[in-house]
Structure formats: C-alpha cells, structure tokens
C-alpha cells in the first residue's frame, strides 16, 4: 500500500500537497514532510477526450478531485480498472507519482 507524500505546517497543522516556503494558511515557515494514508473519496471527475497538444495520444484519460481521509483535497489522475465505473463517493487509493502528477485508482470498500 503506497503512502501519499504531503507536507504539513508545524504551527497550524495545515496540510498541503506540495512543498512551499511558508504556510498558505498561517504564514509560518516550519513546513515538514508527512506521509498520508493515500486513501480518499472521489469528489468529482471527468474523462478528457480532447487533450492539449502536449497530451495528445494519451486520451481518453481521467482526472479527479479527491478528498483524502486526512482532510487534504487534491486534483490527480484517476485509473479506472477495466469493467469498473467510477462514481462520486467511491473510495480511491494513491497509486504512484507519474510524470505529470499523482495517480489514484478505484479500490474495493474492504481493500
């Protein structure tokens, strides 16, 4: 099970998907890496069928907004396994960092 690497503010415990010099919430400068479970729920998603030039050939691909169980919201690639259909509220799990960002996949409730 892959954990999802994020960043936390030592002062206000705010969570961020990306490293930054100071906290976006309280302005403190103590930003530490943190490993999240990588588990979350699908908030919404779409299938890109007409990509920008740089992504041509990859279509169709799915992009989702995901709410991680620790409270962090991320936009990421979504892998939907053959035979599955994604729906809002479905559980997802961080899979890997791909060249363009984080990729998540649909999981079974009990997984």
């Amino acid at each position: 099970m892959a954990s999802f690497e994020a960043f936390t503010c030592d002062a206000c415990k705010g969570l961020f998907a990306r490293s930054q010099r100071s906290c976006r919430r309280c302005g403190a400068s103590a930003i530490l890496p943190v490993n999240l479970s990588g588990r979350g729920l699908l908030t919404s998603f779409t299938t890109i069928r007409m990509p920008p030039t740089a992504f041509q050939g990859q279509e169709p691909y799915d992009i989702a907004v995901i709410d991680l169980e620790e409270g962090l919201r991320v936009t990421a690639r979504l892998t939907v396994q053959a035979g599955r259909t994604a729906g809002i509220g479905d559980p997802v799990m961080f899979e890997t960092m791909c060249p363009y960002g984080a990729a998540f996949r649909l999981i079974e409730e009990q997984e």
Partner: protein
C-alpha cells in the same frame, strides 16, 4: 468618485473571420464604438485593450499601442489587459476607474481575440494556460475538463439534472438564432444537446462554446458631460472585480466561484441594489453548467436552484429574469478576450431599448465575466437614466 457612463458601443460579428487580422478585428469594433459615440479620436485620453492569447495563437504582442496607433489615437497611454476570459471585463473596469478618479474624461476600452486560425490542440493548450501550470494543468486538465468536473459535482450535490443543464444550451441557442452577430444562428433541440459528442464527461459538444474570432468596444465618459456627446448615456452604477482560487482543489465548494460572489457583492453594494433589482443579465456561459453556477453565485437564485430556474423558464427571454438574451457565449461564440465587452455591448443595447431580443422595460442590467478556473471575475451593473 465621479459617475461614469457608456456613450458608444461596437462589436464585430463573432465566428470564423478568415483573412482578417487580430488588429483589423479590434479596429472594426473600436471604429464602430467611436462612431456610435460621435466623438473625434482626439478626445480619447486613454485606451485599454483586453486580450488573452494573441501571443500564443497569432504571435502578436504589443497589441494595445498597435491598435491605438492605427486608430489614429495620439499619444495617449495604451495598455493591454490580461485576465484570461475576463480580460475585457477588466479592461472595462480599468476604464471606469480612470474616469471615476478624475484622471481623464473619455476612455476607449476594447477586447479582441483571434482563435480560429490556430489548430484545436493549440487553442486548447493556450486556453489551459489560464489554469495553474504548477498543478492541475501539468496533469493534462483542460477547461472543458474543469467544467466537466464542476458539472458532475453540481448534479451530485444539488440534484441538478442532465436535462436542466442542457436546457441552457437550448435557451441560449434559441436567443442567438435572432442575433446576426452570433457564431451559431441555428437553434438546437434538447435531444441534440444530450446526444452530441462527449467532450469531457458529462460535458458534451453542445454544452461548450465554439472557438471564435471577434472584438467588442465601448467609449466611456464622465457621467456629467456625457449628455454633451450622447442622447442616451448608460450609467455604470456598480463595478466589482475580485479573485478566487485558480484550482479545483483549492475551491471550498466545487459549485461556487468565490471570485464571482465577491465581485457581485462589490457591484451590488456600490449600486445600492440587490439581485432582485436586475432586469436583464449577460452572464459568463462558457459552458452550460457555468451559466447555472453564475446565476447562483450572482444571487439570482439560491445555491443549487439554478437547474430548476432554467427548467421553469425563470431565465428565459420572457421569464422573470432573462439571462443571456444575446444568445450568450454558447451561441455568440467565445473569442475569450472580447467576451466581457460583448456582454457590455448587449446590456447597453438592452438599456437603450434597441436590442435584438429586447427585454421590455429593461432599466437595470448586469454583466458578469469570469476568467480561468474562477481565478478572476468582474461584475458591472448599468442603468438607463
């Protein structure tokens, strides 16, 4: 602050304009606005030009002074304004501020975009630059994709139906069928929208605006001397301009654009009005679902009630609050940098009583322009004297 009025408007036809350069398009709209205002170019004291992707698509920078020089304006400050699809809403706002603060009496504002000469992939990529390059756009997200995500969420969260969203396209294409300057002048049936090609699920082709060329312009004047130039100056009584997060993951609610809410509150406050006082509005319908979120964010209906409002006819031409009588971007087309001023063009026409789909007794109108993933918005409220 001094009052500011619109004394002249101009707008080119929107659509594919082969062989017409971006400069020529802007000139056409500006000349029409100056001639409508019946003022000589020597009285124009500043020029703001809204444009988003001229460098990327037609390799033309320094657009504001180039257009101004060819118009015969001499030597005045000329500024290009960029705020994605809200570029000319912002240009308009800056013109208003320059006059309101007493710096000058007459300002020309315009917006222009030339998109059809570039390939669809290049246009998609250029437009995607309004998103956050560090995060979402790196993933391969596009603007239709962004609104596909927003649409699916709106349907889930508020019970909005696929049919209600499609009705926005049916309504606006019906209005646009009467507008000779619209890109599309053919109505569409509900079934055609629902069965059109999937672009970014659940968003389909007829949920999207076409790629277009076009320009629009307005001549602004201090309110007091405005009657010296125009028989019927239209007063700008509220102006709002605000920002919001530029990414989906930073939006607290995927169905609300904070920038629109803030800009609207600012404009209503300045005008001393509420959403109930508006007789007609042009809102930023870059996608069908965007019109639904806009009428909610602008306070015309409660959040989540935008879908039923369309289905019940509230926003129809003969409804309580006609939205996008011009046909909206969905039928006019969306030459991104020109859109905000094309909305002003329609609202001024409505308030003068000379619009094509004239709303009877329109006294107060609103124009709402949105840029990026809700990164920026302008709202203007105009009133006939």
């Amino acid at each position: 602050m001094r009052g500011v009025s619109v004394i002249g408007i101009g707008c080119t036809p929107f659509g594919q304009q082969n062989g017409v350069s971006i400069t020529d398009l802007a000139l056409q709209a500006c000349r029409e606005a100056l001639s409508d205002a019946q003022i000589p170019t020597s009285l124009v004291r500043a020029f703001y030009l809204g444009n988003f992707v001229s460098e990327a698509l037609v390799h033309q920078g320094a657009l504001a002074p180039i257009v101004a020089h060819r118009l015969g304006l001499r030597p005045i400050p000329c500024t290009k304004v960029e705020g994605a699809c809200a570029s000319s809403g912002i240009a308009f706002r800056h013109g208003v501020l320059l006059i309101a603060s007493g710096v000058c009496d007459i300002v020309l504002v315009a917006g222009v975009e030339k998109m059809t000469s570039a390939g669809t992939g290049a246009v998609t990529e250029a437009l995607a630059s309004a998103g956050d390059a560090d995060s979402e756009m790196r993933l391969g997200l596009t603007f239709p994709g962004t609104f596909g995500i927003i649409m699916r969420r709106h349907m889930h969260q508020h019970g909005t139906t696929r049919e209600q969203v499609a009705m926005v396209s049916v309504k606006n294409r019906q209005s646009g069928s009467a507008n000779p300057k619209a890109h599309f002048q053919k109505p569409v049936a509900l079934g055609e929208v629902l069965e059109s090609r999937l672009i970014c699920d659940p968003l389909r082709l007829y949920d999207c605006t076409p790629i277009s060329d076009g320009a629009a312009a307005a001549v602004l004047c201090a309110a007091d001397p405005a009657t010296e130039y125009a028989d019927q100056p239209i007063d700008i009584i509220g102006s709002g301009h605000a920002m919001g997060p530029a990414t989906l993951f930073e939006m607290a609610d995927l169905t609300t654009f904070e920038a629109s809410v803030a800009a609207a509150q600012q404009a209503y406050r300045e005008a001393g009005l509420t959403p109930r006082d508006i007789d007609v509005a042009e809102v930023h319908d870059c996608f069908t679902i965007a019109e639904i979120t806009a009428i909610e964010d602008l306070g015309f209906v409660e959040k989540g009630k935008g879908g039923p409002a369309v289905a019940d006819g509230l926003t129809a031409l003969d409804g309580m609050l006609p939205i996008n009588p011009s046909g909206g971007l969905l039928s006019k087309g969306h030459p991104v940098g020109a859109t905000g001023l094309a909305q002003i063009y329609e609202i001024v026409g409505q308030l003068r009583g000379e619009a094509i789909n004239q709303v009877k007794g329109a006294h107060i109108g609103l124009a709402h322009n949105l840029g990026g993933t809700g990164a920026v918005s302008t709202v203007h409220i105009l009133k006939r004297r």
